[in-house]
């Protein structure tokens, strides 16, 4: 998978009816889905968030293992869900959908408290086999 495939798979999964994804409110009052790929830049501070936010790390952690003429590469994608409205329940449904779509993922759930929002960090493994040399 590449980042656009990861993003599309998760946005389709969580945006499907009933939609679980929240909204970013831009400084000009325009609302867009609260989905952000964090890499060269993180979510701008001046954007407000309503509901459930989804952020995905742009680049996976790359863990190669040498084979014969190939590298077995484990890519680990990191996804973070944050429930910005404390009375919302979308994060529970989102974790359930994610667990059924990515059954080999690892979930790190943190309940909310007086200084932090409820959140879940999800690590999705994605194994690929890469050739060491180009095919003739």
């Amino acid at each position: 998978m590449d980042i656009s495939q990861v993003r599309e798979a998760i946005v389709t999964l969580l945006g499907d009816s009933p939609n679980l994804l929240g909204k970013y409110i831009l400084p000009n009052a325009v609302e867009i889905p609260a989905v952000y790929v964090v890499g060269q830049k993180s979510v701008p501070n001046e954007w407000q968030v309503k509901g459930l936010e989804l952020t995905i790390r742009q680049y996976p952690e790359v863990l190669p293992n040498a084979g014969v003429g190939v590298a077995v590469v484990l890519q680990q994608w990191e996804v973070v869900l944050v429930q910005y409205n404390p009375d919302g329940k979308e994060i529970a449904d989102a974790m359930d959908r994610m667990a059924r779509r990515f059954p080999d993922a690892t979930f790190r759930y943190t309940p909310g408290d007086d200084i932090a929002y409820e959140r879940c960090r999800i690590i999705i493994p994605d194994m690929t086999i890469r050739r060491l040399y180009a095919e003739p």
């Binding site: 993180s42 293992n65 680990q76 973070v80 690892t106 943190t110």
Partner: protein
């Protein structure tokens, strides 16, 4: 008709060797080496903000998570290893507390509160899918091989 027979003998010695390997791994490879790398490696963690630390240092990205060493030390000192009839268990608890008297390890680990980016310093040993792709998993395989080899030699 050809026939072969394979048996395992001395299973108690094998079991003891595996638990000894596990203990050496938790003590030397994890408690001594791995936590040191997770906390003191200055190129380890990308971070979104600039921070002035308690030790006076101003840090950007990437950074270590050592500062005054309190969090690191609370984990290393909490190391407990227990053998039982069912096997063995190693535990760590990062119980350093902030100025409000609250344990803050989880905030650092998950990027909560004033921590804008997660620094998940236990992930390398607690995420099953990547365990054997990383240094701790490779070190455990090596320890098991080493301790079983010693059995063969004796």
């Amino acid at each position: 008709m050809p026939a072969v027979n394979a048996v395992i003998i001395g299973q108690e010695l094998i079991e003891k060797a595996l638990i000894d390997a596990f203990e050496t791994w938790t003590e030397e490879d994890i408690n001594d080496a791995h936590w040191d790398d997770q906390f003191r490696n200055m190129g380890k963690w990308p971070y979104d903000n600039e921070t002035r630390r308690k030790n006076g240092e101003v840090v950007t990205s990437p950074r270590d998570i050592y500062d005054l060493g309190e969090l690191h030390e609370s984990g290393v000192k909490s190391y407990r290893f227990e053998r039982s009839s069912n096997g063995a268990e190693a535990n760590w608890h990062w119980d350093a507390k902030n100025s409000s008297g609250q344990e803050y390890a989880w905030y650092v680990h998950e990027g909560e509160g004033t921590n804008v980016t997660a620094r998940p310093f236990t992930d390398d040993i607690s995420i099953p899918s990547s365990f054997f792709f990383k240094a701790p998993g490779k070190a455990l395989k090596l320890r098991v091989t080493q301790f079983l080899d010693r059995l063969n030699a004796s």
